[in-house]
Amino acid sequence: MVIGEKRGDSLQLRAVNACLQLLPMLDGKALFTVEDLAPLAPLPGTGSLHPLQQVLVDGHASQCGFCTPGFVMSLFALYENTPACPTRDSVMEAISGNLCRCTGYRPIIDAMPAAWALPRVGIGRTAVLAALDEMAALPTLEYRIGEQCFIAPRSLAELAAARQAMPEARLVAGATDVGLWVTKQLRPIHDMIGLGAVPELKAIHRDAGTLAIGAGASLTDALAALVDFEPGWADIARRFAAPPIKNAGTLGGNLANASPIGDSMPGLIALDARVLLRRGERLRRVALEDFYTGYQQTALEPGEFIQALDLPPAPAGRLFRCWKISRRFDQDISTVCGAFALTLADGHVCDARIAFGGMAATPRRAPITEALLLGQPWKADTVGDAMAVLAEEFTPRDDLRASAAYRRHVAAKLLQRLWLEASGVPASLSGLEPQA
């Protein structure tokens, strides 16, 4: 489904997974489902289908049809959000969170340019914005079912007070982790504090070379800001889940969930990020690498929450890359995620921060490899020596995604990839593929 929210003066439309939205999270938002499309824009002479629906019919893009509404909505969000016909790559990215088992993706991808060839239609944004304004004027949501309540503070101050008053309540941001506790683990979740209505938490600021990202910024917005700050984030931005998850999920949720295979942490630790933690009026800053105290454990105290994350300015000559290794290209969990931030001066490594996910119980730096690189000339021999050390630095686990041996091997190989890329050699498969 597609969710509409007011950002500035305009309407932001984003596809999300319906199965991971808790009902009160939708308060104050516009909601579009596949049923809303046909009445939106009847095309003369075709019955009453939206152009996207019509070209999917004409292009034989459905077989069993079970996945089709999801594809329609992912395509619809892209159609509404772009002023010109999207590229094939951006169509593929937009549908990377949808699965089709019978038809194959080609006719679905082809639907976008075909729809663009038909007269363009659009939703009535003014009316939607007016309805959103009306809802925004209603009092703060307090939703109760039986013993359970969901409150949605409207400001940072309200949130800080609510959090302190209800330290036992579960914070819920995008629910892309919490939702699975409900649907899969049937875990009882009692009171909840929703973060989605706190505007300050969504703010992203860039000044004097620093970057500050509010904990409630969506992964879509946070990753875009990170790529803008450091282009080396591109691989993670593309490969982190898929748009519907990134549209709902937040950076703060990823950090707080503290998974050893969370994809944002290695890169952020390599860039020396700090989290800003708040409890009531008290604020403190903790280096992200010190935030993780054990398997899915953080330094958060009762009543405390992550308010924001900030990154120091980039030193001159910094080489940064972050890569995700997973069994599937799209929407998969990392087997290993590796991040490298090396500062080079006069052909020597004068600072090295290397961090990995999937190699230990928490996202972790590789201090031995870093020490070996420090002060050394940046050349193939140094890299070779460092790879040998890196391959031994962690004791990862065997699990269903990969063996420990594979993880150690691939961790070292990522350093080689860094070296090759820095030397101008295309080192990733996607860089070698012919671009359509």
Binding site: T33, V34, E35, L37, A38, G47, L49, L52, Q53, L56, V57, D58, H60, S62, Q63, C64, G65, F66, C67, T68, P69, V72, L99, C100, R101, C102, K184, L186
Partner: protein, 360 residues
């Protein structure tokens, strides 16, 4: 008179395409539920192979919303959902034969209550060794069906006199069917001891048949309907029956409509996958590449029950010569019994897989 040319060769849209794209195409779970419909969930074995020592379901029965709990002994007719060979229990009886095998089932007012209750069972199983691979089964001489041999000509002589020889072993992996709509059945009691089933199945007649047997009824007392499926790929041919049987037994017991829509994780654990094969080949050929003789061993992992392993493995045998005429050929097909999960036909059956050795 209609003078329009027949639509042969014309690219006509799928008859439901306009419904697919608008979300109006109704699948089993979309149909309005009759008032009072109960929801069912199975309790699955966490052990691959063993003897059920005790099954304490008191906490399951006491959980909120629970209306009925059934075990194998509550099945009024035949505890079998195997359509081809009657060796597939609906609910495990005394013995567990695969990881994820249904041990009992719960019907409750809501699906969440049923799923929650199903997790409260206290199950004690004495674990026995499990055969996990084709190789394990071959070593233990464990089969679901007797071997099949098919031959023509004198292979031994053809191999012996061929100028060139090639021998080797191939492994072809199994696969989850991955229908996007999971297994789902709605059983609605009707007048005079009869029942209507709405099931997401590729084989409604077989469902009717198996469900009637499970209830101890005659075929005319059960009807089965499937308007459309959200994918099947062979995974809803025979194995939709298990869920239809469970829903039907619970419906008969409670007198209420019962819907069983498997959770995706349970579906992946409890349903069979496509057969994986170990193929040993030995070929003799001349300098022009002409095959003089071929000896093949096709050994597949059939899981713990026969299901459609007979026809599937036969198909592998029949396709093994691919497009070639072989003067001297000997094929042996072994249908191995293992205990991880049952295996089921997949859309392409085994034809395509069996072609691979002769293309090598």
């Amino acid at each position: 008179m209609n003078t329009a040319p027949p639509p042969i060769g014309a690219a006509l849209p799928h008859e439901s395409a306009h419904l697919h794209v608008t979300g109006e195409a109704a699948y089993t779970d979309d149909l309005p539920e009759p008032a009072g419909t109960l929801h069912a969930a199975p309790g699955l074995s966490a052990v691959a192979h063993g003897r059920i020592v005790s099954l304490d379901l008191s906490a399951v029965r006491a959980a909120p919303g629970v209306r009925a709990v059934i075990v194998a002994a509550d099945i009024p007719g035949h505890n079998n959902c195997g359509a081809a060979v009657p060796d597939d229990p609906i609910l495990a009886d005394g013995e567990v034969s695969f990881h994820g095998q249904p041990l009992f089932a719960v019907a409750a007012d809501t699906r969440e209550q049923a799923r929650y209750a199903a997790r409260l069972a206290k199950v004690e199983i004495e674990a026995w060794p499990a055969l996990l691979t084709v190789e394990d089964a071959l070593a233990a001489d464990s089969h679901v069906l007797p071997p099949v041999d098919i031959s023509r000509g004198d292979v031994a002589a053809a191999l012996a006199s061929a100028p060139h020889r090639l021998a080797g072993t191939l492994h072809l992996g199994g696969q989850e069917h991955f229908y996007l709509e999971g297994q789902v059945s709605l059983a609605i009691p009707q007048e005079d001891d009869s029942l209507h089933l709405v099931s997401s199945t590729q084989h409604p007649t077989e469902i009717q048949h198996v469900v009637a047997h499970a209830l101890g009824w005659r075929m005319h007392q059960v009807s089965c309907e499937c308007r459309r499926m959200g994918g099947g790929f062979g995974g809803k041919e025979s194995q939709a029956a298990q869920w239809a049987c469970i829903a039907a037994v619970l419906a008969r017991l409670t007198g209420k409509p019962v819907k069983l829509r498997l959770d995706r994780d349970d579906d992946m654990r409890a349903t069979g996958k496509r057969h994986d094969f170990r193929i040993e080949y030995e070929a003799g050929f001349d300098a022009a590449g002409r095959i003089a003789g071929l000896k093949l061993l096709l050994a597949s992992r059939c899981g713990f029950s026969a299901d459609l392993s007979g026809p599937i493995n036969d198909r592998a045998v029949f396709h093994a010569d691919n497009a070639y005429y072989l003067d001297a050929v000997a094929i042996r097909s072994l249908r191995c019994r293992t205990t991880p999960y049952p295996t089921r036909p997949s859309a392409a059956l085994a034809g395509r897989r069996a072609c691979s050795p002769s293309n090598r």
